[in-house]
Amino acid sequence: MKLTGAQIFLESLVREGVKHIFGHPGGVVLTIYDELPKFPLKHFLVRHEQGGVHMADGYARATGKAGVVLVTSGPGATNTVTGLATAYMDSIPVVCFTGQVPTHLVGNDAFQEADIVGISRPCTKHNYLVKDVNDLARIVREAFYIATTGRPGPVLVDLPKDVINAQTEFHWPEKVHLRSYNPTYQGHPGQVAKAVDLILQSRKPVIYVGGGAILSNASPELVSFATKLGTPVAPTLMALGAFPMTHWQCTGMLGMHGEYQANMAMHDADLLIAIGPRFDDRVTGKLDEFAPCAKKIHLDIDPTSIGKNIRADVPIVGDAREVLRQMMAELDGRPQELEEFKANIQEWWAQVRKWREEHPLSYDRTSPNIKPQYVIEKLYELTGGDAIVSTGVGQHQMWAAQFWKFDRPRTFLTSGGLGTMGYGFPAAVGAQVAFPDRLVIDIDGDGSFQMTCQDLILAAEHNLPVKVAIINNGYIGMVRQWQEFFFRRNYSQSDMACQPDFVKLAEAYRCAGLRATKPDEMVGVIKEALATPGPVVMDFQVEREENCFPMIPAGGAHHQMILPEVMPS
């Protein structure tokens, strides 16, 4: 029996195990939308395609499965670009289907034509223009395969209208065969042995964990490996939750707003055991002065990450999970040396503990105003930390990373690489779709939230009980902080005191809205929000000019952190 391109497309999604689609229809994809109700696929009508991609991205980060987007040609397609770039920078598997004008019109500046394959080329792992309906099922299969294997990433598939309407026999390819794409999963045994040699010789080692540890689902292996060695573990923003932050070996987050002990440990280490990070500049600071005395073992599934910013002494290409297992097997064969190693790093631990005691995370707890850090601490406390948390970008994002102690992978959804304001709320919606019964909290900025808040109506429509906590400082606060430090407090265009009434805004979108303006109102608001079914927006009007510390100035080195001046704790 012959099927139309639209039917083949939807049948292929079902075969791929897709359950949810985030989309918005338009002219060229109407045939698909016409068929959609016949398939076991739940579609969420997003109010902006950017939000739709962030939803698919949040869904993917929370589950590890690919998130799916379907939009129309032209403006529908171009609206996805920020979402794709966000997913690309953080290696998130999203598969985005865009309608396209009929093949014979491609290149003619037809109505709602955009060269989305050209536009998205640098911000997708791969993309396709389907020219023949006979290729459609295979391409859908390949798109999911490429998005979810190796170093994951977004894939875009452009579907011209005539291909969607054409008919052919449906053949589902069981296997994907791509001669030019074969990610390496196993580490080279020689390199693994060399790495273990370096580890056992080191006196001041740090396990430097990146987002790759989460992407490869390596948390259990990471915990075994790290506890076997007993070394400090320092996660990046993208790795929060890969290793429990409440574990005594965890130094807290690294990087520009990382914890003092984490950054000092990186600076003084004699060995970095890098598990799936990419030595991003927000983590390394000034490259010449980054971990100056340390040898580097760099494990990554993407060879281009290795040696890009920092020369690795022992590069290992492979999947974090596989290679951690290999390293543990190697360590198990050398019990004597391992005992010596553990004794040898005691002095190092004394130093790391000293740093921890000298400058723990702190803020002024005596203020008559609500401190943003206090909001996050209270949210953490009152939820028992059992939630999936997303964020926008800015100070609130860094405070969430610092003060929420993530103990499980895939519970922190944040735009690390691209730093996309507006990511938080739709990402939370995506996670909530995947996990309807879990608590999902978007810790957002007043600026970030306003970039994508129109999908509050989608949350209300589908009764998705996302809780939004706006850390409302009336500023695009991170910009203001930079202006305070580096631009003579010239707050040019960072004051956003003119705001919508977020409570009324929530209500207008059929959500509940709550507000706290003083510290003693906070607990009540949080409790009420948690007890309210459905989506809730909490407007926390916080200390306006609070700064986020520690802070490594751009281009500074790890030991040049700016710390808060007053630290009553």
Partner: protein, 158 residues
């Protein structure tokens, strides 16, 4: 330092754009780039001449390999290989210098492929040194136009 990189790619539309976009997006240099089908019609070969320090060349190779449509990347520079480029040169050919031009053409085993009352068009193939030497000799005579193919290259032996 100059590197000649041979890249086997899927013979599909858009692959050239991916490679070119990779070079421009990451600020890598392209001195010449040459593409044509191989014996297997589903595969094309690109020969890319680029330059940069070792770290850059390493990134170029890795980034090329990372493209889904790239089958194989081979930096020929480090090993024994043959490089050739073809150049078409149109030179002023007056009665007074025709003999000299022909002498140079003969010495370099080039070929005159078109003649007009005032010009010769010469075809020459060779490696970089030979082509540079040839063009240097023609320069004082008056070169009107040069068209180069960019290099192609092949490893020696089996």
């Amino acid at each position: 330092m100059k590197h000649t990189i041979s890249v086997l790619v899927e013979n599909q539309f858009g692959v050239l754009a991916r490679v070119a976009g990779l070079f421009s997006g990451r600020g890598f240099n392209i001195e010449s780039l040459n593409v044509a089908e191989t014996m297997d019609p589903t595969v094309s070969r690109m020969t890319i001449v680029t330059s940069g320090h070792d770290g850059i060349i390493e990134q170029i190779e890795k980034q090329l390999n990372k493209l889904i449509n790239v089958i194989k990347v081979h930096d020929l520079t480090a090993e024994s290989h043959i490089e050739r480029e073809m150049v078409l040169v149109k030179v002023n050919a007056e009665a007074t210098n025709r003999a000299e031009i022909l002498r140079i053409v003969d010495i370099f085993r080039a070929k005159v492929v078109d003649v007009t009352p005032r010009t010769y068009t010469i075809e020459i193939t060779g490696d970089e040194d030979k082509l540079e030497a040839f063009l240097k000799l023609l320069k004082p005579i008056g070169i009107r136009e040069i068209v180069r193919t960019g290099k192609v290259a092949m490893a020696r032996g089996g």
